[in-house]
Symmetry: C2
Subunit: 210 residues, 2 copies
């Protein structure tokens, strides 16, 4: 476990800090599809991703949702840091996109290490920054891009994260994450198929040329 931690975070954080993380943190192996954070929960620890990916989704009372971004290895989730430090309830849902290994840090360590480890401080800052950028990027996509473009990016990104050129999701699931409707997504997917970019199957989509 420590070697995994070192291989991912070795270049980012102090060796002594890695030792400490290894001691106070709890390793968690999480299966793809597992809900890690639910909206409304209090978050009392922050996750450092060692491998895999977590998707972060904004979810609403009426069941509507919107995919915000993915957190990948070598990153942490600023939304949970934000919640931690302010003792607020989570406003988002986090789900393991693939099998994921992470280490969980109790939140009081977060602040303590900021005083003691310069590189931890930089890491935390960089995380916030990345998140702000991802949010800005999501905002731009929703504001400026048409749904067909967003769909193409969604398929590419999902293929990349899963390391496959095939997406194992139903049209309904895709529609939910893009905050659209099943019929519309089916229509656009069919158009992409006719253009030769993808091949549609039941429960999965083959990516040919995007």
């Amino acid at each position: 476990m420590l070697t995994d931690l070192q291989s991912v975070y070795g270049s980012l954080l102090e060796a002594s800090l890695l030792q400490e993380i290894n001691q106070v943190g709890t390793y968690r192996q999480i299966q793809a599809g597992t809900e890690i954070i639910r909206p409304g929960e209090y978050i009392k620890s922050i996750p450092l991703l060692i491998s895999g990916a977590i998707k972060v989704i904004r979810e609403y009372d009426d069941g509507e949702e919107l995919l915000l971004y993915y957190v990948e290895e070598g990153n942490t989730c600023s939304m949970s840091m934000a919640c931690c430090t302010e003792q607020k309830r989570s406003t988002i849902k986090a789900v393991a996109e693939v099998d994921t290994l992470l280490i969980v840090i109790p939140n009081q360590k977060l602040e303590e290490w900021i005083g003691r480890y310069p590189r931890w401080r930089s890491f935390i800052f960089a995380s916030y920054q990345n998140r702000l950028e991802e949010m800005l990027s999501s905002l731009e996509k929703v504001a400026f891009e048409r749904l067909d473009e967003r769909l193409i990016e969604y398929l590419k990104e999902k293929g990349r994260i899963n390391g496959e050129n095939s997406i194992h999701q139903t049209h309904k699931e895709i529609a939910d994450e893009l905050h659209s409707s099943r019929v519309v997504i089916s229509r656009l997917l069919k158009k992409l198929e006719n253009l030769g970019h993808i091949k549609l199957h039941r429960n999965h989509i083959e990516l040919l040329d995007l």
Copy 2:
């Protein structure tokens, strides 16, 4: 000047830090409408707002734009912190919405103080958090709300920030900030007028009941 600083930040930051801010910072009185940050610039200092408000706008090559959020007194702009710490070019435009007084801090102090002043650390964290929340809120508005709702919120917010129940902007300017078109905004404004919520005049809009 120091007394202004104290009255706004006194409850947030250490007294000794306020002294230091007062010494190393540069006070700037900025007129409404002045561009403070332009996209593409390097940012080498971060602003602490003492009074007034700054609007932060994403701007694109083709002249299109989108209002992201306002920064008000007692706050700093995390987008610029993000840019500072990573030596990146700004991706946003910042314009004084009203006459604004702020104090500018050289960016190396930002990190230095984080090690030395716990309350500065909390302040910086809280800023990032606020900004993440504002971005999330902007995202949601664009993703879920219809233009007429966004327009109403825009008018309310602008009225609040300017401390008036009257908006001094043309339909074109409003359309730009909401990333829409003049004709559409005129149409919606007229509808709001017919409903008795506002009264339209040339170059300004009277807010009656929103």
